[in-house]
Symmetry: C2
Subunit: 338 residues, 2 copies
């Protein structure tokens, strides 16, 4: 029985959206798992009532404080020891649950996970791995914000961890790993990227070399490795495409009758696009490399996104992703030294 803790208070639509997502996951479950909802007990119970759910579906773990979305993570960490994020992560540390999922303050989830759970043996720096849509399925894109500055060894480890995630959770065979740079040749990019290129060539991954900005959405590879500065900028840039296109279409609709006629179809198409571009739909972003399973969801996560995140959490536990990461990185640290 896999035990999942879910932050019921995190995100813009909490607790409603989160509890609904938990129920969806429960309804469609194929694996044996149970869910603990973490947060203000009364509010959660009210939500369960609203949704006509019996309490017995879920356990509730009371947490009296909430970290706001705009709160400074380090301060929240110090001052709110009983936030849903702190309580949920502690449950995992105490081995009362196997995974913690939150759509709350990303920085706070990350900092709390790192501090409470620590790193896996052999991992220098954990990374947030997200899934982006491409022309050919999804790509694992990491790091998207855990590390503004990275050394070559970090990028190398991100490649290994991303590859394991792609194969064990997304079920991709021999996932192709690419290193994001500004030219295909191994001599292109910053010094750190060039060094990481050499490490990845020797690593236990199907390394396809450097990839460029055009390759991400093309789906040239299954895993794209970059530092948290570039990754975060590209991720946020991706999130803005929808708004940009919508504004473009609106201008067009005003300009021409033909487009007014087509506006309905365009709107449907954009709604579709929005879903594809919404990385939360793919089930949240695991913080790979921490000694536990910590999954960060978008603040605007829909119940469906929460449901997917629960599935990812269950799969990460079931597939023993952390164990594989430790083994691969232990082996490979030797390789690199040798």
């Amino acid at each position: 029985m896999i035990r999942i803790a879910l932050d019921a208070m995190g995100g813009d639509y909490a607790p409603g959206s989160v509890v609904e997502g938990a129920f969806l996951a429960y309804q469609k479950k194929t694996d044996d798992f149970k869910i603990t909802l973490v947060g203000e007990k009364e509010k959660i119970e009210k939500e369960l009532l609203r949704l006509n759910l019996r309490n017995s579906f879920f356990t509730i773990e009371n947490a009296t404080e909430n970290v706001r979305m705009e709160e400074i993570p380090t301060e929240a960490l110090k001052e709110k020891k009983n936030s849903s994020i702190a309580v949920g992560t502690r449950l995992q540390k105490e081995n009362k649950v196997d995974a913690f999922i939150s759509s709350g303050n990303t920085g706070a989830v990350m900092a709390t996970s790192l501090l409470t759970l620590g790193r896996l043996e052999g991992v220098a720096r954990p990374a947030i791995a997200t899934c982006l849509p491409t022309e050919k399925g999804v790509v694992v894109f990491l790091d998207v914000g855990a590390n503004a500055e990275c050394k070559a060894i970090n990028l190398y480890q991100f490649g290994v961890m991303g590859s394991i995630y792609a194969s064990h959770v997304l079920k991709k065979e021999f996932p192709k790993v690419g290193l994001l740079s500004i030219g295909e040749e191994s001599t292109k990019g910053t010094e750190i990227v060039q060094e990481a290129h050499k490490l990845l060539e020797k690593g236990p991954v199907n390394f396809v070399g450097n990839v460029e900005g055009t390759d991400v959405l093309k789906g040239t590879c299954d895993v794209v490795v970059t530092d948290g500065f570039v990754g975060n900028i590209v991720l946020k840039f991706t999130e803005s495409i929808d708004g940009f296109l919508t504004s473009l279409v609106h201008k067009r609709v005003k300009q021409s009758l033909l487009f007014r006629f087509g506006a309905f179809l365009l709107k449907i198409s954009l709604r579709d696009l929005r879903k594809v571009l919404d990385y939360a739909e793919y089930g949240g972003a695991p913080l790979l490399g921490v000694n536990g399973v910590s999954i960060i969801c978008h603040g605007k996560s829909s119940p469906k996104a929460i449901q997917n995140a629960i599935k990812v959490g269950v799969d990460m536990v079931k597939e023993k992703v952390n164990q594989v990461i430790q083994e691969k990185l232990a082996n490979n640290n030797n390789l690199i030294r040798g």
Copy 2:
């Protein structure tokens, strides 16, 4: 009389597209300028014949060699002293023209410009500035590839140069300058970005602070500053959006009759989008900071894009952009020291 040299051999559709673009610029000219077409004389003359143009519209400067798009810039520089890029840049060095425009090999144009023309006084590193479409007009985005690694002073100077370009060529009043980072606070981002933030605060620009990946297409500011690694990745990512959306629509069209019906409208809309996303439409990307006017166009530039690039070249000369850059950076270097 402003004198423009145009690389007739560069780009995927040369010399046809380039000569057509030159003719468009000539037809619609409001400023007093003349054009020198640089490249294989016979080929250019053939093109002029095809377009029924009298030779007297343009001067031709013969260049016997061509740099291929995939050629390694440094090798081309050494081995092809008579390429259209080398000859055109030399014309500028010898003060026979005031600007050189090429849709050829970007790296070769950049390297040749740097080596032949040198830097403006006070400029540590030139940067390639491109224009991207946003929800509210265009944004000057730089550097998009001249410098994979930057110091804070470089980012600072990019901000100043970009601001001058935005005000003098794009006619934006008090252009808002943003520094691309992973959080709005001045303490976010890499150490170099944090340092650049401090310099820009003291600089002769309307600095609005850090901006994030979401802000680029939103048009939050008029100038977005970043290093050539991030800039190039974001630019190339942008170029891939069109292909990604097209593939998305195709899948949809296959899925549903309603969408097959709407496919025509969607196709028009995407064509529209493609144009908006094609940064070449905005007139090429000037290499700001070189001691001359050197404008790099996309290899797939249409005649219209070439026409726009000529307009940008003329404006840069007319508005004495380089002189303003030198003045502002000379003043400001004192400010920073003080």
